[in-house]
Symmetry: D2
Subunit: 132 residues, 4 copies
């Protein structure tokens, strides 16, 4: 699932490139939009179903810098999912299709109090791993 | 009340100076530390007393830039306070004492649901406006 | 000039609403898009013309909270402009048209080294104050 | 090398815990302070020596959440270093000593224009890998 993000001024640092933690913010936008495309709203998942998708690990490999006002594509796919754990993989692409960065995040499902819980069936169905 | 903050790399932008919204983050650190110095923890205020200090207005005048790794002083005072509203004033000082920025924020007190409520008496006493 | 922004998860705080300094980031997006709509790229303004639009003051009045995943409209207009100074005014609107916040920023034009300079004529023409 | 950071209000999200990309900001503070403890200023490294320490990969494993106003310890060590590449390892510790997160970053040395270059000898000497 592809979503566009434009690099904000405040996302740059004095090196003149996008600040590296910003990529994890973009990954989160990728996850949210992948869910939305599959008919789910992460907001409703928290508010109505009391399901929280908590990050347990996150990584990013940076190949080439992104710059202010660049329009990037965040490409997100589900790499694995069961009722307790989900993992996503990401690519950040430049407008010419070059891969600027790749990343991955792993998550557990918790309730509002941070205790592990199972993902309701309809979320699990929607989160079937993406074809590559 | 003075508290030191050091400009973080991610707080700079490609202009090579601290990104202007960062000052409002530093103001918030100033408020938290002013409360702490007066024996109050904003964290407990929310968690134990269900009092939220919600920002209703915020402003900053920027006189001279702050740069990466600069050690700044955030000088905070209560400019007015009653059981429903609090206002703070701020100065951001360089190590040589120059004023880099001044600012102000206004706040209302709400409960967890965002409804206006009164500040408990002991907070109000502690928040007596600062002598200038 | 209207541009849409969606509230990011990381832009919320533990109060469950958009963190107040985020509005200044959205104002910046408004400025960038207003320039773009008028045929100018702020990026080129810095890179090619060595013109930096430095913030000298910023303020925001918060009327009602914005929440995660809300799609907001940033409405930006030029409130005044001459070859040395520009000022913008902003409204943040909810999808139902309610004004959630209003704001203003003032700027001076500098060169790369932070020294005041004049805005080239073609930028000044493009930045004619917006009709209200 | 240990440095203390206190979780800022704006670093929390609506889950009520520190937002996961914040940890990479804290890792950066750890690197800066490790350099400073060894007599080096990253700021001078960029400004005077034209050496930029660019992130090529970053990862974090999150074991337990950090909360607003928690005072955390960022423990940083050099895991490997040569004249072209540096790697750091991190732990984020709660006040009671529990490890809340571990992380790692890899870096290459570049000049101002982003081209690979060698790290000057005195930096390399100072960056000898930490004893575990």
């Amino acid at each position: 699932m592809d979503v566009a993000v434009r690099v904000r001024y405040g996302e740059t640092d004095q090196m003149g490139i996008a600040y590296h933690p910003s990529y994890f913010v973009w990954f989160e936008i990728g996850r949210t939009e992948l869910l939305r495309q599959r008919g789910l709203a992460y907001r409703a998942m928290e508010e109505e179903d009391g399901c929280f998708v908590v990050v347990t690990s996150a990584s990013c490999d940076y190949r080439a810098p992104a710059r202010y006002d660049d329009e990037l594509t965040v490409r997100t796919r589900v790499s694995s999912a069961n009722s307790r754990r989900i993992a996503f993989a990401y690519e950040i692409l430049a407008q010419d299709g070059r891969v600027l960065a790749t990343g991955a995040t792993s998550h557990v499902i918790t309730d509002r109090g941070g205790r592990p819980r199972r993902l309701p069936e309809r979320y699990l169905r929607a989160l079937a791993p993406s074809a590559r």
